[in-house]
Amino acid sequence: MTWFKREKKSIENPTPVDERRVRTEGLWIKCGACRAIIWKKDLEANWEVCPKCDHHFRLGARRRLELLFDDEFWTEFDAGLASSDPLLFSDTRPYAQRLRDAQRKLGMKDAILTAEGKLRGRQVTCCSMEFGFIGGSMGAVVGEKVARAVERSLAQKQPLVIISCSGGARMMEGTVSLMQLAKVAAALGRLDDARVPFISVLTDPTTGGVTASYAMLGDLNIAEPGALIGFAGPRVIEQTIRQKLPEGFQTAEFLLEHGFLDAVVSRKELKNYIAQAFEFFLGPA
């Protein structure tokens, strides 16, 4: 749990001057973990990882793919799939409006990108989730796009990577969302039968129905340092047991310790790790 130790230590350090932050607004960013002020260019060059404390900033779905694929020649699939709002759900705001807002803000139709491209010279299928889109939640579109990606991997005998970043099933699609867990797990069963490798990458946060389906079904399940990973949300567990949760509970390191991850891999090493694992499973690209 080095993650937490480091955070504590750095909190004691004085925060840089406010004045400077104001003047250079937009070029600097504050680390959410150690509160260090980092030059944006430095952060980008460092894989969006805090150079001071190793905190892994949350990445957008597209940036993830850029970091993973060898070049810009990757192909996105099923980009047009959009939710039909099967329940015509509305809470304090209509779900249809939430969808429109997220679509406009992020320039994507739903919370996942599915693509294929070269990873260290090997053709792979890769799904990448977008937390900014309604908490990266999985409704019918996410379920369908992942299922199609799995089937594509199966048809092409092409290894699969899924990068999860999600709060779980999308409740505005009700039981339809729940069924996506089964749908994708079934598709992964076929991939497993066909011995096509699948690496699941869990990033901060991966909880609920996504953890309880594809995120835990990799031939290898790996996670970024410090990522929150669990089934039930921490708040719900606290309500149930009526006490504070132990420090470091539901972090990637906690899951590693309890035997549910194969490795915690820092972002800089991620591509190497995946490429090497695929080489181990399948031979040189």
Binding site: Q180, A182, A186, L228
Partner: protein
């Protein structure tokens, strides 16, 4: 840590395990109250007429007529109850549980204990039994009736060892070519520190994958609460049935209300919005069939409820027994593959 805190608060995401708080009494409309009074009055008439010594034929006819009226009124009443009221029926403390169905529909039940790894989960039963002369593997959630039992059964909320025990029982079924029958009635998988430590998510995920390719017939009946991932983890099958007053949901209405409305008292509204009744789910093709319950709900007459379920299970078993393992698994795949509509 601020980012993480934000992640926790992110709305719109079904925290799979919002605990369902004890339900407030269901709100009753004037129409419903009127209907109940009518029913009560007619039932009193029947009682009065029945108690007459030496009832004439005319009285017998009267009784018959009034009985039919009562039945009609009750049918109408239960047809039109709100989703929230249906949840109250699904959670009714006298609802038939797996042990009741075992007693009423199966012979020679022999329980299978433990996941061979950590413990025996009392919230989830597995075993061997005979259904109309045919050996089957049984799996079912189990709630308790009184406080002591409820605690012992962990309110029907299984832990990873429960799901792993279920998987072990299913693999036994596959090995010896026996069909699997599942009874689902759980508020959800247990949301606790120990369950997380032992990999609740992994246990559920694995069951989903393995059930999807199990080479024997799997019949699912949602008998009460179909609570999210904890229910689905034993509910991937060739046929999915729901008792008339059961519910099946991605999140409890209480949980949904506190997340989406930030107001737990909006549970009734959430229950409506989530579309969790058998009728809703049949329409969305998430389930295959609604199993009728005795008038007034299954809690009133367990034997009658079991009798209504029996032919449904028997017919499905007969249909599925004609399929090869390959056909079974392929059709099951297609069944779940088709779930979920979207704009292409």
């Amino acid at each position: 840590m601020r980012e993480r805190a934000k992640a926790r608060q992110q709305s719109a995401v079904a925290d799979p395990q919002e605990p369902s708080s004890p339900a407030p009494p269901a709100g009753r409309s004037d129409r419903e109250q009127l209907r109940e009074l009518e029913i009560a009055a007619l039932e009193r008439d029947i009682a009065a007429l029945s108690s007459l010594t030496d009832p004439s034929d005319a009285t017998a006819l009267d009784i018959e007529r009034i009985r039919n009226e009562v039945a009609e009124l009750k049918r109408d009443f239960y047809l039109h109850i709100s989703p929230w009221q249906r949840i109250q029926l699904a959670r009714h403390p006298q609802r038939p549980y797996t042990e009741d169905f075992i007693r009423l529909l199966f012979k020679n039940f022999s329980e299978i204990h433990g996941d061979r790894n950590f413990a025996d989960d009392p919230a989830l039963l597995t075993g061997m039994a005979w259904f109309r002369g045919q050996p089957v593997i049984l799996i079912g959630s189990q709630k308790g009736r009184d406080t002591r039992q409820r605690v012992a059964r962990n309110f029907g909320q299984a832990k990873p060892e429960g799901y792993r025990k279920a998987l072990r029982a299913m693999q036994l079924a596959a090995k010896f070519a026996r069909p699997v029958m599942v009874f689902v009635d759980t508020p959800g998988a247990y949301p606790g520190v120990d369950a997380e430590e032992r990999g609740q998510a992994e246990a559920i995920a694995r069951n989903l994958r393995e059930m999807s390719r199990l080479p024997v017939p799997i019949l699912i009946t949602i008998t009460g609460e179909g609570g999210s991932g904890g229910a689905l983890a034993i509910a991937v099958g060739d046929r999915v049935f729901m008792l008339e007053n059961s519910v099946y949901s991605v999140i409890s209405p209480e949980g949904c209300a506190s997340i989406m409305w930030r107001d737990a008292t909006k549970a009734e509204t959430a229950a409506q919005a989530l579309k969790i009744t058998a009728t809703d789910l049949l329409e969305m093709k998430i389930i295959d069939e609604i199993v009728p319950e005795p008038e007034g709900g299954a809690h009133g007459d367990h034997a009658a409820a079991a009798k209504l379920l029996e032919p449904v299970l028997a017919r499905a078993l007969e249909e599925l027994s004609r399929l090869s393992p390959r056909q079974l698994v392929d059709q099951r795949y297609e069944k779940f593959r088709r779930m979920g509509q979207f704009f292409a």
